[in-house]
């Protein structure tokens, strides 16, 4: 049984999704989805502890030996992310039940859970697999189900957002598959570790360079790197709140994982560093993304859109960590992956709770809510402080390591820019605080009360995690440090 854990955690949500259709009663389906997600979480906990204890776990699907068969390989990097994704999914699902009651018509509740579980399957599959084509298939499973999740939003703009994402996402996925085809053409293999062994022999051919280009551009579309981020703000703004919380916390993170995996494990640092100016490109795009998106966030009227732009900026920080190209930089990226998931899940769930009560996510409808929903608003503020990087929050930890890595490399002007960009975050977070606490209400507030417990508990779990991991960094820092070390082959 234990030897089958790597595949089990993908299989559980995959099987649970169609079973949801048979259960039919929305409340029952909700509970069932939480159970499935929790099971995946427990499995990923055991996997990670096993990886830490005994090193990477290899699993051959159907007993076929790689590179002929599909291999799943769990190491520190993907073990860590598997834990993150399944944890976020479980916490978000607890809040989902009440939230979608208000946001979706009754007959769509079951479909929401089905799409959600399929999306989870896809994300976990991407993380677990060591087979390039398998990765493409899971990428499409998660993408197609997230288009559906977004289109479930009540506003009609959800439909166009979903369509736009579908077009961009499919172009990205097709680019990835072109890259995979070219790699296969040159090496005759699809297994990542086999590719890593065979690619250096042909690495100065133009086909491999092309393959790399297509692949990286495709992945960057998926992870919403700055000029390719256009699908993200609309998609996050109009999707149902819980879907936004889930996607913001997991899907871009998984795309960043794919980028790290291919840059470090498959193509190798020597190829990427020597033959291509990838570091410099990422540096420029990362910085441009941080500033452009933070400035755009300041001007948003819709609070979900505001935080969506802030997500694009945070992805810029992760890419910046990669651009540094040192172990410390990679550690900062991995830390920020985890920490950003914690903050954004907390913020979007809190916004979801507000939407549950007032039916709107426009910033000006939040006026005066500080009195009516103090706990929820405190959660948004705590998440916002974490985004800025105030000490004692997780945001501080990851920014600290990012700046340290920049200084270690001697890039102090970039470090300075990172600090300035935090001031932009101060502006957009302050704007929210001003509306919440210092503006008289715009709407009738008499019957608005604190969010229900089923939402407050997951929100505050995440907020406390934000503070806890900001003080005790043993787990996050320890694992990201070890993962970065193994990626650099030290």
């Amino acid at each position: 049984m234990i030897s089958h854990f790597p595949i089990l955690q993908v299989i559980i949500p995959l099987l649970a999704a169609p079973l949801c259709l048979f259960l039919r009663i929305p409340r029952l389906v909700g509970l069932f989805a939480i159970l499935a997600s929790l099971a995946a979480f427990l499995v990923s906990c055991m996997l990670l502890s096993q990886v830490i204890a005994t090193g990477p776990i290899e699993y051959w699907l159907g007993g076929w030996e790689p590179p002929w068969g599909i291999e799943y390989r769990i190491d520190l990097l993907n073990g860590y992310l598997l834990l993150l994704v399944s944890l976020m999914s479980t916490i978000v699902l607890i809040a989902a039940q009440t939230s979608i009651e208000k946001e979706l018509p009754e007959n769509r509740h079951v479909f929401f859970y089905v799409a959600y579980l399929l999306c989870l399957t896809g994300l976990l599959g991407i993380l677990a697999t060591a087979d390039t084509f398998n990765l493409f298939v899971f990428l499409e499973i998660s993408a197609l189900s997230s288009y559906t999740l977004i289109a479930l939003g009540t506003d009609r703009r959800a439909l166009t957002a979903s369509y736009q994402y579908l077009i961009m996402g499919t172009i990205g996925a097709t680019f990835i598959i072109i890259g995979v085809g070219m790699m296969y053409m040159m090496t005759g293999t699809l297994n990542m570790y086999d590719l890593a062994e065979r690619l250096p022999a042909v690495s100065n051919s133009r086909t491999v360079l092309c393959a790399f280009g297509f692949f990286i551009v495709g992945v960057c579309l998926k992870l919403a790197l700055f000029p390719l981020h256009l699908w993200l703000p609309n998609a996050y703004a109009w999707a149902p709140s819980v879907a936004t919380a889930f996607l913001a916390a997991t899907s871009t993170k998984v795309a960043v994982y794919v980028l790290i995996r291919y840059v470090f494990t498959v193509f190798g640092v020597s190829f990427v560093g020597v033959s291509l100016p990838l570091g410099r490109i990422f540096l420029v795009l990362g910085l441009a993304g941080i500033f452009a998106a933070s400035v755009a966030a300041i001007y948003q009227l819709n609070i979900k859109r505001l935080f969506a732009y802030s997500s694009v900026a945070q992805i810029g920080y992760m890419i910046l960590g990669l651009a540094i190209g040192t172990k410390l930089g990679l550690t900062a990226t991995l830390l920020h992956l985890f920490n950003h998931a914690l903050m954004k899940a907390a913020i979007f769930l809190a916004i979801g709770a507000v939407v549950y009560r007032i039916g709107s996510s426009q910033l000006y409808h939040f006026a005066g809510l500080g009195r009516r929903m103090p706990l929820t608003m405190a959660a948004i503020v705590a998440g916002g402080l974490s985004l800025i990087g105030v000490p004692l929050t997780v945001g501080f930890v990851s920014k600290w390591y990012l700046v340290a890595a920049l200084l270690e490399r001697g890039w102090w002007p970039v470090a300075f820019l990172v600090l300035i960009s935090s001031l932009l975050a101060v502006i957009y977070v302050w704007r929210i605080i001003e509306w919440i606490y210092f503006t008289p209400p715009r709407i009738i507030m008499d019957n608005i009360e604190e969010a229900p417990l089923t939402q407050l508990i997951p929100i505050w779990l995440l907020v406390l995690a934000n503070i806890y991991f900001g003080i005790d960094t043993d787990l996050t820092l320890g694992v990201s440090n070890l993962a970065a070390q193994s990626l650099f082959g030290l």
Binding site: Y147, A151, L159, Q362
Partner: protein, 141 residues
């Protein structure tokens, strides 16, 4: 290996560019999906070209034949075709719902309507219009 000898790859590149151009240039949402279809199909051709070995046959073990084409790309592409169909189906169903919601499938029309909504939001933000409960309205419709 002359340039003409690689004609299948030229076709792939041409189709890829045509498809990509349609996706970018056309305003009509269905035409965009058609472009996306062409774009994806070019990749299918690409994979099948990779697997072909001159003079090779289908990989069925038999005394008479010794040279086989590589079947793996074909299998991969069967999967990719299924993915493509799912994407197109989902895309088309979104277009149907967009048509229901906006009464148009031209991008410029939709954007015009969206910016009108946006304008109303801004007016409300600066206190010119009163809040209505958008929520109940949407669900009842």
């Amino acid at each position: 290996m002359n340039i003409l000898g690689l004609y299948n790859y030229w076709i792939v590149v041409l189709l890829m560019m045509i498809g990509f151009y349609i996706v970018i240039a056309h305003e009509n949402l269905i035409k965009k999906l058609i472009g996306l279809g062409i774009f994806q199909t070019s990749v299918f051709f690409f994979y099948i070209s990779i697997g072909k070995i001159a003079g090779g046959t289908a990989p069925i073990l038999d005394e008479k034949w010794h040279l086989y084409s590589n079947p793996l790309p074909h299998v991969l592409i069967l999967t990719a075709i299924v993915v493509g169909i799912a994407t197109t189906a989902l895309g088309l169903s979104l277009v149907v719902r967009i048509q229901e919601a906006y009464g148009s499938i031209e991008e410029s029309d939709i954007q015009a309507q969206d910016s009108l909504d946006q304008l109303e939001c801004s007016l409300e933000a600066y206190g010119i219009r009163q809040f209505e409960n958008l929520y109940d309205q949407d669900l009842n419709e």
